[in-house]
C-alpha cells in the first residue's frame, strides 16, 4: 500500500504531554503548566536535544520561570517522563496592551547540557604538578588497576666491579644484563628488571612487551628521573608522557636519559613505563638479546647533586624495604598482556565525573553501564574541553552511545551502536508506512 492510499488511520492513539517546572534540585515549582500549541522538544542520538515552549499569560507557572530551572515533559499512555530540559533562555513580554501577548517563552536543551558546565580535568586533579594536557585512558592513566601486576624479575646490576659501594664483594651476576652500564648512568645501585626471566639464550622474544608501575611519594620541587630501556619504550608521569623514546631501529639502553621536571607537587605520583624488545640485525637466532628497563629518580633532599641520599626510587634487586640503598622492590610489572591495558568507556567517563564532582561540579549525576563494554586503550580527552563535547567525541569516534535519562540524573552508556535494538537487526520492526504517515522526507548527502 503506497503513501496516500488511505489518508486517515482506522485507529488513532492519542497521547498528551504534561509539562512540570522544577528547580535545579528537582523540587516542583509548578506542575501541569499549560503550554501554547506549537511547543516542541526534541531528542538527539548522542547529543543534547532541545525544547521550545510558550506559557500563555495567566497560566500557572507563568511567573516561576527563570534560566537554570528544569522543564520536565511527561507523556501519557504509560510512557512516563520523556524529556527533561534545562532552561537556557527566557523571553517575556512584560507589558502589552493586549494581555494575551504577555507570554513567556522558554527554550533550552536536554539537561545533559549540564555536562557543558564541567571541564575535562587532568587525572591528578587541578593544581597537581606535573599535569598532562591530553588525558589517555591507556597504560599511562594513574587510575589503571595495577593490583594484579607482579614483582619484576631482577636481571642484574648495571655496573660490575670487585667491590660494591658499601665495600662488600659485589654480588654474583644474575645473568643477561649484568654489567652493561649505559653511558652517563649516575647510580651504582641501579639494576635491570623485566617481567620475565631470560631464556636459555640469555634472550627475551623479539617484540616482547612489558609495562611497569611505581607509586612514587615525592616532596615539592625538582624531580629528575633517569631511565633507559632495552630496546625502546616510553615513560609517563601522572598520565603525561615525559619521555617518548626513540624510533626503531635506534635503541635506548646504551645511554642514560633524563626527563627532569622543574616542579612536582608533594604527594603520591604514578610512574609508568612501556618497554619493548626488538630484533637485532644479523642475529636471526635471537641470541643474547634480553629486554630490560632501568631507572633511578632523584630529588634534591640533601644537595643538588646525583648522590645516594637524593635517590628516592630506583629499579634493582628486591632486597627489602629496610635496605634503602639497594632495594628496588616497589616496582610492578605487566608482561605481554593479551591486549594493551586500558579502560572501558563507562569507567573512563566515571573517572572524569569523580574528578569534577570532587570539585563540586555536576552533583547528583551518576554513570550507568549497559551492555558488554570492552576494555580499550584509545579513549582520550583534551583537558579543558567541556565534558559534553567530550561525550560527543566519544560517540563520533565509535566508542560508545550515551544518553541522560529523562527522569533522573543518570548517564546511561552503551557500547557504540547498541542503544536501541537496531544493531540486533530486528525481524519485525515497527513499520512507518501507509496509514500512519503524513509525509516522508529523505535527505541524501555526499
Amino acid at each position: 500500500m503506497g503513501l496516500g492510499a488511505t489518508r486517515w488511520p482506522a485507529v488513532v492513539t492519542i497521547r498528551t504531554v504534561t509539562v512540570d517546572l522544577l528547580d535545579v534540585n528537582e523540587s516542583t515549582l509548578e506542575s501541569g503548566v499549560k503550554i501554547a500549541p506549537g511547543g516542541t522538544y526534541s531528542e538527539q542520538l548522542n547529543d543534547a536535544g532541545s525544547f521550545d515552549v510558550t506559557i500563555p499569560y495567566g497560566a500557572a507557572g507563568h511567573d516561576d520561570v527563570d534560566v537554570g530551572i528544569l522543564a520536565r515533559f511527561t507523556v501519557s499512555g504509560g510512557i512516563g517522563v520523556d524529556f527533561t530540559g534545562r532552561v537556557d533562555q527566557v523571553d517575556k513580554v512584560v507589558a502589552s496592551k493586549d494581555k494575551a501577548r504577555r507570554q513567556v517563552r522558554i527554550q533550552g536543551r536536554d539537561w545533559v547540557s549540564e555536562w557543558d558546565d564541567a571541564l575535562v580535568t587532568p587525572p591528578m586533579g587541578i593544581g597537581s604538578l606535573p599535569h598532562t594536557k591530553i588525558v589517555r585512558w591507556d597504560w599511562t592513566h594513574p587510575e589503571l588497576d595495577t593490583s594484579a601486576w607482579t614483582e619484576p624479575v631482577y636481571l642484574g646490576s648495571l655496573f660490575t666491579a670487585d667491590l660494591d659501594p658499601l665495600g662488600a664483594p659485589a654480588g654474583p651476576s644474575p645473568g643477561a644484563k649484568d654489567g652493561w652500564d649505559p653511558k652517563g648512568w649516575p647510580d651504582t645501585f641501579t639494576g635491570w628488571i623485566w617481567g620475565d626471566a631470560v631464556d636459555g639464550n640469555d634472550s627475551h622474544p623479539v617484540d616482547d612487551v612489558c609495562y611497569f608501575h611505581l607509586t612514587l611519594p615525592t616532596a615539592d620541587g625538582l624531580l629528575v628521573p633517569i631511565t633507559t630501556i632495552d630496546d625502546t619504550g616510553q615513560v609517563a608521569f601522572d598520565g603525561a608522557i615525559i619521555d617518548a623514546g626513540q624510533t626503531p631501529p635506534a635503541v635506548q639502553w646504551t645511554q642514560a636519559w633524563a626527563s627532569g621536571m622543574r616542579a612536582v607537587t608533594s604527594g603520591d605520583h604514578t610512574v609508568r613505563v612501556r618497554a619493548e624488545n626488538r630484533a637485532v640485525a644479523g642475529n636471526p637466532s635471537n641470541l643474547g638479546n634480553p629486554a630490560a628497563f632501568a631507572a633511578v629518580i632523584y630529588q634534591p633532599n640533601v644537595s643538588e647533586l646525583m648522590e645516594f641520599d637524593n635517590v628516592i626510587a630506583r629499579t634493582g634487586a628486591n632486597t627489602g624495604a629496610s635496605d634503602d640503598l639497594t632495594d628496588g622492590g616497589q616496582w610492578r610489572a605487566l608482561h605481554n598482556p593479551a591486549s594493551p591495558p586500558g579502560f572501558d568507556a563507562p569507567t573512563a567517563i566515571q573517572t572524569q565525573l569523580d574528578l569534577v564532582q570532587a570539585d563540586g561540579f555536576l552533583p547528583d549525576w551518576t554513570v550507568n553501564a549497559i551492555g558488554t563494554h570492552t576494555v580499550r586503550d584509545d579513549i582520550t580527552a583534551t583537558v579543558n574541553d567541556t565534558l559534553l563535547s567530550w561525550l560527543r567525541q566519544l560517540a563520533e569516534r565509535g566508542i560508545c552511545d550515551w544518553r541522560a535519562r529523562p527522569g533522573e540524573r543518570v548517564l546511561d552508556v552503551w557500547p557504540a551502536g547498541e542503544r536501541g535494538d537496531f544493531y540486533t537487526t530486528p525481524g519485525s520492526p515497527p513499520a512507518w508506512t501507509g496509514a500512519h504517515l503524513s509525509q516522508v522526507d529523505v535527505t541524501r548527502r555526499r
Partner: protein, 272 residues
C-alpha cells in the same frame, strides 16, 4: 563520484581509491604510527568505505504504532521508495491543541550507522593488538627540552686517568672538575713486569681528603670498586699511591699503575 583516501604513514603517502567513477575528491588521513605500506593501504581501504553518500529520513506521522525510542530499528521508506530497516537517530515531539503530542522521528541509513564502527576498525588495523602493543602510541615524538633541569641523553663525563710508572708512594697531579661529576667506578690496573707480590693501595682524594682507597691485591693486575665519588663543580681530584706494602721498591720500577674512572654528570640543575 570517486573518493581517494591519502594516508600518511611514518615514511610516505599512500593513495587508496574506493573504485568509484566520475568526480574525484581526496580526503587526507593521518596514520603516522603505521610503519608499513600494506598497513597504510588497509587503513585507506577501510576509510574509503566510510565516505559514501548517506541518507537521512524524516517522517511526519499522523499516528504511530509505538512510542519511538532512539536507537531502535524501524522500517520506513528509503531514497528509492522501497522500505528498509533504519535506526531512529532523533525525534521531535510537537505539542498541539489540548497538549496532544505528535512525534516526528528521524532515521539514519545503515551506512551512517556503520561509519563509527568502521572508523574504530580502521584504527585497530593501524596499530594491531598482538603482543600487548598499544594502539596509537607513537615513538616519533621528540623530547621536549626543559630549561633548568637535565633533559635528554646524559653525556658521559670524562675524568682523566692517572698513571704512575716506577710505582712508589707519591702524590699525583691535581684535576679540577669543571662540572658536577659523579664517579661511579674506580679501577686500578697494573701492567709491566708482572703483578706485584703484595698489595698496592691508591687513595683518591677530593679536595685533599681521601674519599676512597682502592687496593690492588697481591698478584692481581686489576681491581675495581663501585662509587660513588661526588664532585661538585670546582672540586679537585687527586690520586696518590698510598702504599706498596711489602713489595721491594726495586721490583716496582718496571710496573705501570693506572687508575681509570667511569663518570657521569651529577647536577640536578643545569644552566640550559
Amino acid at each position: 563520484m570517486e573518493t581517494v583516501v591519502r594516508v600518511e604513514n611514518t615514511e610516505r603517502f599512500v593513495d587508496v581509491s574506493d573504485g568509484g567513477t566520475g568526480w574525484k575528491r581526496a580526503v587526507a588521513w593521518s596514520a603516522t604510527d603505521v610503519p608499513t605500506t600494506d598497513g597504510a593501504t588497509q587503513i585507506g581501504a577501510a576509510a574509503a568505505a566510510t565516505f559514501g553518500v548517506r541518507d537521512s529520513v524524516k517522517v511526519t506521522a499522523e499516528d504511530y504504532p509505538v512510542w519511538l525510542s532512539l536507537g531502535d530499528g524501524h522500517s520506513t521508506f528509503t531514497w528509492s521508495g522501497s522500505t528498509g530497516l533504519q535506526r531512529a537517530s532523533a525525534r521531535t515531539v510537537e505539542i498541539g491543541d489540548g497538549a496532544v503530542a505528535r512525534v516526528s522521528p528521524t532515521f539514519q541509513s545503515p551506512d551512517e550507522q556503520s561509519d563509527a564502527r568502521i572508523l574504530l576498525a580502521v584504527k585497530r588495523i593501524a596499530t594491531g593488538l598482538a603482543g600487548g602493543r598499544s594502539a596509537g602510541v607513537s615513538v616519533s615524538v621528540p623530547r621536549e627540552l626543559s630549561t633548568g633541569v637535565p633533559s635528554g641523553a646524559l653525556q658521559p663525563v670524562s675524568v682523566p686517568p692517572w698513571s704512575q710508572s716506577w710505582v712508589d708512594v707519591k702524590e699525583g697531579p691535581l684535576w679540577r672538575a669543571e662540572d658536577a661529576t659523579v664517579v661511579t667506578k674506580t679501577e686500578v690496573l697494573c701492567t709491566g713486569a708482572g703483578p706485584p707480590d703484595d698489595d698496592v693501595s691508591v687513595n683518591v682524594k677530593v679536595n685533599g681528603v681521601t674519599a676512597v682507597t682502592v687496593t690492588l691485591p697481591q698478584l692481581a693486575t686489576s681491581f675495581s670498586i663501585l662509587g660513588s665519588l661526588v664532585l661538585a663543580a670546582g672540586f679537585v681530584l687527586q690520586v696518590e699511591t698510598a702504599s706498596i706494602g711489602a713489595n721491594d721498591p726495586a721490583d716496582m720500577t718496571d710496573l705501570n699503575l693506572t687508575v681509570q674512572f667511569t663518570a657521569a654528570p651529577a647536577a640536578l640543575r643545569v644552566d640550559s
